[in-house]
């Protein structure tokens, strides 16, 4: 069980309000990702749920019980930190055992859970080492192991993959997703990386300046972003946003078109442009096209085989049914 409900929760540091009152419900078993640019309050929100920071006003409910004034240890939540936060003076075994020791779990049960966690996380051979003797990926596994053995109501991840190199990050991402499928426990995951958010989440919460911009499944956010900010933040490469006459023709202040929703031709089309940088990824090529009115450069995703080079003139045609329109406030027009 692990439903988490925030009711008018707000947080101020002194005079500065970092999170204005917000409401949010995270359902039991759901993988929720808080995503947003740095300083948007996503980590603070996680720390409020964890109990590491006190909320200024509002109510936090965990499984229907008021947890607002419950200390972190008693909330039944486990947290994985960006810096791993392992105990450097303890072996891997003792690190993983620590929360169980604090909770007074019997020794044989401790041993059973350590063995199970170590097997699941490929740590069996490293149980007697110190964290200092492990690689970054292994340390992160130990941190996850320490969280798993508590059998928490929910897992809280605070940018757990930021300190890993790119290749390792993809692997760990899959492992965490698989772990979620296996355990079916509520997970809240904070990241600034929208790719992590898209690939892992059941539900994404997009935050900006402490305010929830949109909540939805990855594809909902991708297909129907509620405003310009979400449209620009979700999706990689970013959505192209056009202002001015082009937008006015569609009855909007701003129109958005994703790089993958533009047809490219060498002979005719709506917009004429010159290819600047062409990024060849093999399967796809991203073209940065100059000369499109109201958007410079415009990013376009084309087939990796398309023979285009720097300086080529091409024509672009947006797929009109995939066009996003926004009004003067940046809100979506349907």
């Amino acid at each position: 069980m692990g439903q988490i409900k925030l009711n008018k929760v707000s947080k101020s540091f002194g005079e500065t309000e970092v999170i204005p009152p917000l409401d949010l419900t995270i359902e039991d078993g759901e993988f929720t990702v808080f995503v947003g640019p740095s300083g948007c309050g996503k980590s603070t929100l996680l720390r409020l749920i964890a109990g590491l920071e006190d909320i200024t006003s509002g109510v936090i409910e965990i499984d229907g019980l008021d947890a607002t004034n419950v200390p972190p240890a008693k909330r039944g939540l486990a947290m994985v930190f960006q810096s791993y936060a392992l105990y450097p003076h303890m072996s891997v075994r003792k690190n993983i055992a620590f929360p169980m020791k604090m909770a007074g779990v019997p020794a044989d049960e401790q041993a059973r859970r350590i063995t199970a966690a170590a097997e699941a996380l490929n740590l069996t051979d490293y149980l007697d080492r110190r964290p200092g003797q492990l690689s970054g990926g292994q340390r992160q596994r130990v941190a996850i192991g320490r969280a798993i053995v508590r059998e928490p109501a929910a897992f809280l991840f605070d940018e757990p993959l930021s300190n890993l190199d790119a290749a390792l990050r993809v692997g760990m991402r899959l492992e965490i997703s698989e772990m979620h499928k296996r355990l079916a426990t509520t997970m809240i995951y904070v990241t600034h990386d929208q790719v992590e958010a898209m690939t892992m989440a059941d539900k994404i919460v997009v935050l900006r300046a402490g305010v929830i911009e949109q909540v939805g499944t990855p594809l909902e956010l991708y297909h129907t972003p509620c405003n310009e900010f979400v449209a620009g933040f979700i999706g990689s490469p970013q959505m192209n946003l056009l202002k001015g006459d082009e937008a006015a023709r569609h009855g909007a202040t701003t129109i958005g078109i994703r790089p993958e929703h533009t047809d490219v031709s060498q002979t005719e089309g709506t917009w004429k442009g010159v290819v600047g940088v062409a990024e060849h990824l093999g399967s796809d090529t991203f073209l940065h096209v100059h000369g499109v009115p109201g958007c410079d450069p415009m990013t376009v995703r084309v087939d990796g085989e398309l023979p285009v080079r720097h300086g080529d003139t091409i024509y672009l045609t947006p797929q009109l049914d995939k066009l996003h329109k926004f009004d003067t406030q940046g809100l979506r027009i349907d």
Binding site: A50, L52, P71, P72, A73, K74, L77, A78, M79, F81, Q82, S83, A85, L86, Y87, P88, H89, F98, P99, M102, A103, R146, R150
Partner: protein
């Protein structure tokens, strides 16, 4: 590019380091040598370096005249007691300053340090009178308290710097893992700070052991430590350099031996956190 050190350079550096080291150590060496000379040879001109008649008569004389064991015991109790008491008070103080600082924490730290800038003699009278009133003049407990207070700012400062090096996230992890404040300090903070706590302990034992102003002024016979033992050889019957040196050697020997065996700990503790 790696910095290359030529052989010649290495030799010069080594020689220079040894010269400075010997220069610093020389007074101690001279004291030790003098303690083995006769009184006449001790004041010989030109001074005798090694070519003298080695004798233990000064040590015998000192042992006969003074109760070395009692002074030694007083020193151990005063230095050890004031350090342990100081650590017990300083650990929670440094913990709160390092992990739950307020706007004024830096000011408090500086204010504490500023008390060390006051000449000790400036507060001699008030403390002396307080000691008389409290009936703790010439008692070990009185000296334990006063030396603890004298060194407390340094103990707090040192522990504060060591605690600052410990990432807050690790303590938060402990909190999430269900540790109470006591368990957090006991199982996580203290073991991680052991190098720092150990070097703080050592440094304060040394400072307290060598402290002469308060130990000389606030004791007479009962609680007098080794500093008073040395001082008792410096005046009444004119100067007897050899006996004074023997007494000094006996007073510094324990702390010298302690320092020798713990030098690795001291150095690693004092440079703790400099290299990650």
């Amino acid at each position: 590019m790696a910095r290359t050190v030529t052989q010649k350079r290495k030799i010069i550096n080594t020689a220079a380091a040894w010269s400075v080291g010997l220069l610093i150590f020389f007074p101690i060496l001279w004291t030790i040598l003098t303690s083995f000379k006769t009184e006449a040879q001790a004041i010989a001109d030109p001074p005798l370096f090694l070519g003298f008649d080695w004798t233990l008569e000064n040590y015998a004389a000192v042992m006969e005249r003074s109760n070395y064991g009692r002074f030694l015991w007083n020193s151990i109790v005063i230095a050890g007691g004031s350090t342990i008491l100081g650590i017990i008070i300083a650990v929670p103080a440094a913990w709160s300053m390092a992990f739950v600082p307020s706007k004024r924490t830096k000011d408090i730290l500086l204010w504490m340090l500023s008390t060390k800038m006051l000449p000790a003699v400036g507060v001699l009278y008030p403390i002396y009178l307080l000691f008389i009133r409290l009936g703790i003049l010439d008692t070990k407990i009185g000296l334990v308290i006063v030396l603890m207070l004298i060194n407390l700012p340094i103990i707090v400062w040192m522990l504060y710097t060591y605690f600052k090096e410990i990432p807050g996230e690790i303590l938060e992890a402990a909190r999430m893992d269900g540790a109470t404040l006591k368990e957090e300090v006991l199982y996580v903070l203290t073991p991680m700070a052991i190098p720092g706590i150990a070097s703080t302990l050592l440094l304060n034992v040394i400072l307290a052991w060598n402290e002469a102003f308060w130990t000389l002024n606030l004791t007479a016979a009962k609680a007098a430590p080794l500093t008073a033992f040395i001082a008792s050889y410096s005046s009444p019957e004119g100067l007897f350099y050899a006996k004074l040196s023997a007494a000094s050697t006996m007073a510094i020997a324990p702390i010298l031996i302690l320092g020798w065996f713990s030098q690795k700990q001291l150095v690693s503790g004092l440079t703790f956190g400099a290299v990650k």
